[in-house]
C-alpha cells in the first residue's frame, strides 16, 4: 500500500492514524474519513464543472467558427471564474407568488441528483465512492431525482412558461428513461453484474461497444434526451417558452441548474465510457497506476462529453410529437429487440472464444441496423408518397 498504487487507502490509512493519534475513537475516525471522502468528491466534481464551463464555451465557439473566451487568462481559462462572480453578484430574485421553499430547494436538488451519480463512478480500479451491486439501477434512480427537481422548479416558479417547460422536460425524461433502462440491461447482461466496477472489469477483453454498438448509440441518444440538450431541448425552447423551467431563476440558483446540466452531460459521457468503452481501461495502460487510470477515464468521459456537445451544436431542435414518437415508435422497440437478441446470443455463444462472440455480436448489430434503416427508408418513401398525393408535384 503506497501512494502510487493505492492512493485512497494510503491517504485514508494515514488520516486514520493521525485522527486516532489525536484521541478520536476508531468509529468516529471512520465516519470522519468518509465525510472527507465525500467532500473531496463533491468539491472535485464542482471544480470540474467550472472547467466544463470553459470547455463548453470554447468548443461551441469552435463549432460556430468563433474563437471563444480568450482574454482572461491563458486561452481564456479564467473566464468561468468571471462568470461565477457575475452570477454571484447578480440580484437573487424570488418571485412573490412563488412557493419559496420548493423554489429554493429545486436547484439544489438538481445539482445533487448529478452529484449522487459520482458516488458510483469508478474512476480507477481502487478509486471509487462505493461499489454498489445495483449501480446500473442507481443511475436511473438518480435520474428520477433530477426529474423531481425540474418539476419542483417549474411548479414553484408560478409561471406558466416554467410549468410548460417542466412538463415538457418531464415527459421527455420519463419517456426516454425506458429505452435507457432497457439498454442499460445489455452491458449488465454481458457482464453478469450491475456493479459498474464489475462491468468495467469484464470489458478487459473487448469493449462492449464492439459487442453492442447499437446499444451504445441508443444509450447516447436517450442520455442526450435525459439531459434535455439539443436536439431534445424543448424544455427551454427560447422561441416558444422563453427559457423553460428556469425562467424565473437568477444568479447562483440559475448557476446551480447550469452547472448541474454541464456536469450531468459530462457524467453521462463518463457512463458511456464506462458501460461501452471499457471505463478506466486502455490496453493495459491503466496498470501503470491509479492516477493514470483516472486520467484515462476522464479523457474518455471528455470524449463522450464532446460527442454530446457535437450533437447539441449541430442538430436543430425537433418537434414535441416527433420527439415522443421517436422514442415510443423507434427507440423503445429497437432497444427491446436488441435486448432480446443480445440475451439469446449471449446464451447461445457461451462456449465460443471471446473474439468469436464479439464478431458475431457485432455482425448481428450491423444486420439489425441495416434492417432498421431499410424499414425507415420504406416508411419515409411512403410518407413522401402520401404527401405527394396531398400536394401533387409541380404545385410548389
Amino acid at each position: 500500500m503506497n501512494l502510487w498504487n493505492d492512493p485512497i487507502n494510503f491517504i485514508a490509512g494515514w488520516l486514520r492514524a493521525l485522527l486516532t493519534g489525536w484521541g478520536l475513537s476508531l468509529d468516529l475516525a471512520k465516519i470522519f474519513i468518509m465525510l472527507v471522502g465525500v467532500g473531496v468528491l463533491i468539491v472535485g466534481s464542482l471544480v470540474l464543472a467550472i472547467f466544463l464551463v470553459w470547455v463548453e464555451r470554447k468548443v461551441v465557439a469552435r463549432f460556430q467558427d468563433r474563437v471563444g473566451p480568450n482574454r482572461i487568462g491563458p486561452y481564456g481559462l479564467i473566464q468561468p471564474f468571471a462568470d461565477i462572480i457575475k452570477l454571484i453578484i447578480k440580484e437573487d430574485i424570488t418571485p412573490t407568488t412563488a412557493d419559496k421553499v420548493i423554489y429554493n430547494l429545486a436547484p439544489v436538488l438538481a445539482l445533487a441528483s448529478v452529484l449522487f451519480l459520482w458516488a458510483v463512478l469508478p474512476l480507477a480500479s481502487n478509486i471509487y465512492g462505493v461499489d454498489l451491486n445495483v449501480a446500473a439501477l442507481y443511475l436511473v434512480a438518480a435520474g428520477a431525482l433530477g426529474t423531481l427537481a425540474i418539476i419542483m422548479g417549474g411548479w414553484a416558479s408560478n409561471n406558466k412558461y416554467a410549468l410548460l417547460g417542466a412538463f415538457r422536460m418531464v415527459a421527455t425524461m420519463i419517456s426516454y428513461e425506458i429505452p435507457m433502462v432497457v439498454v442499460l440491461l445489455i452491458p449488465t447482461l454481458l457482464a453478469g453484474t450491475m456493479s459498474f466496477r464489475g462491468i468495467v472489469e469484464s470489458q478487459a477483453g473487448a469493449w462492449y461497444v464492439l459487442m453492442a454498438p447499437l446499444a451504445m448509440l441508443i444509450f447516447l441518444i436517450s442520455a442526450v434526451a435525459e439531459l434535455g440538450r439539443a436536439p431534445f431541448d424543448l424544455n427551454e425552447a427560447e422561441s416558444e417558452i422563453i427559457a423553460g423551467f428556469h425562467i424565473e431563476y437568477t444568479g447562483m440558483k440559475f448557476g446551480l441548474f447550469y452547472a448541474g446540466e454541464l456536469l450531468h452531460a459530462f457524467t453521462f459521457g463518463g457512463f458511456v465510457a464506462l458501460l461501452f468503452f471499457g471505463g478506466y481501461q486502455f490496453f493495459g495502460l491503466e496498470k501503470l497506476g491509479p492516477l493514470v487510470a483516472v486520467t484515462i477515464f476522464l479523457a474518455k468521459a471528455m470524449f463522450g462529453y464532446w460527442v454530446i456537445m457535437w450533437i447539441k451544436y449541430t442538430m436543430p431542435r425537433i418537434r414535441i410529437d416527433h420527439l415522443l414518437a421517436f422514442n415510443w415508435k423507434f427507440l423503445t422497440p429497437l432497444a427491446l429487440i436488441l435486448l432480446v437478441v443480445t440475451a439469446l446470443l449471449h446464451k447461445l455463444l457461451a462456449g465460443l472464444p471471446l473474439w468469436g462472440i464479439t464478431l458475431i455480436m457485432f455482425l448481428t448489430n450491423v444486420l439489425i441496423a441495416w434492417v432498421t434503416v431499410e424499414i425507415l427508408r420504406a416508411y419515409g418513401r411512403k410518407q413522401r408518397q402520401a404527401e405527394e398525393v396531398l400536394a401533387p408535384a409541380g404545385q410548389h
Binding site: L137, T147, L148, V170
Partner: protein, 171 residues
C-alpha cells in the same frame, strides 16, 4: 446506540414526520412532495435492511414515476394554484381516533409476538441477494407465475389508464 440505530432513528423520524405532513398539509403539491420524502426515507430503511435492489427500485418507481404522476394529477385537476377551502372532512377527529385505535391494536400485537426483539443474523459476504432475487423472480419453482401475473396486471392497468384518461375521441 450504534451507527445503524442512529440511521434508523433518523430515517424513522423523517418517515413519520413526512407522513404526518402528507396527511395534514393543506397544499396538495406539498403533500405529494412530502410523500416523496417519506418514500425516500423508506428507501433508506431498505438500504439498512440490506435490500439494496429494493431501495433503488423504490426510488425509481415511487419517486421517479408514482410521485411525478401524482404531481401531474394535482396540477391537472387544479384550476388555480392555491388550494382553497378545508382539506379535511368534518369527521377527521373520528378518523384520528380510529387511526390511533388501530395503531394501539397493532402495537399490542407486535409486542405480543414471540421473540420480537430479535436482531438480524449477518448475511454471509458471499451470498448475492440481488442474484438470488433475480433467480427467485424468474424461476418456475419460485415466483415466476406471480411475477408474470403482476406484469400482466401492469399492462392491463396501463391500457386501462390510457383509455380512461384519454376521454372521448372527437370524430
Amino acid at each position: 446506540m450504534t451507527a445503524s440505530q442512529i440511521v434508523f432513528l433518523l430515517s424513522a423520524a423523517l418517515i413519520i414526520g413526512s407522513a404526518l405532513m402528507v396527511v395534514t398539509t393543506r397544499k396538495l403539491v406539498h403533500a405529494a412532495l412530502w410523500l416523496v420524502a417519506a418514500l425516500f426515507g423508506v428507501a433508506i430503511l431498505y438500504g439498512l435492511l440490506e435490500a439494496g435492489f429494493l431501495a433503488v427500485v423504490q426510488v425509481v418507481v415511487y419517486i421517479g414515476a408514482i410521485a411525478i404522476l401524482f404531481i401531474f394529477a394535482v396540477m391537472l385537476t387544479r384550476k388555480e394554484m392555491r388550494d382553497t377551502g378545508p382539506q379535511t372532512r368534518r369527521s377527521w377527529p373520528l378518523a384520528a381516533l380510529l387511526g390511533l385505535l388501530v395503531l394501539a391494536g397493532l402495537v399490542f400485537l407486535v409486542l405480543d409476538m414471540p421473540d420480537v426483539a430479535r436482531t438480524a443474523v449477518e448475511i454471509p459476504a458471499e451470498v448475492d441477494t440481488v442474484g438470488a432475487l433475480g433467480q427467485a423472480l424468474v424461476s418456475p419453482e419460485a415466483y415466476a407465475l406471480p411475477f408474470e401475473v403482476a406484469s400482466v396486471l401492469l399492462l392491463a392497468a396501463l391500457i386501462g389508464a390510457v383509455y380512461i384518461a384519454s376521454g372521448q375521441k372527437k370524430e
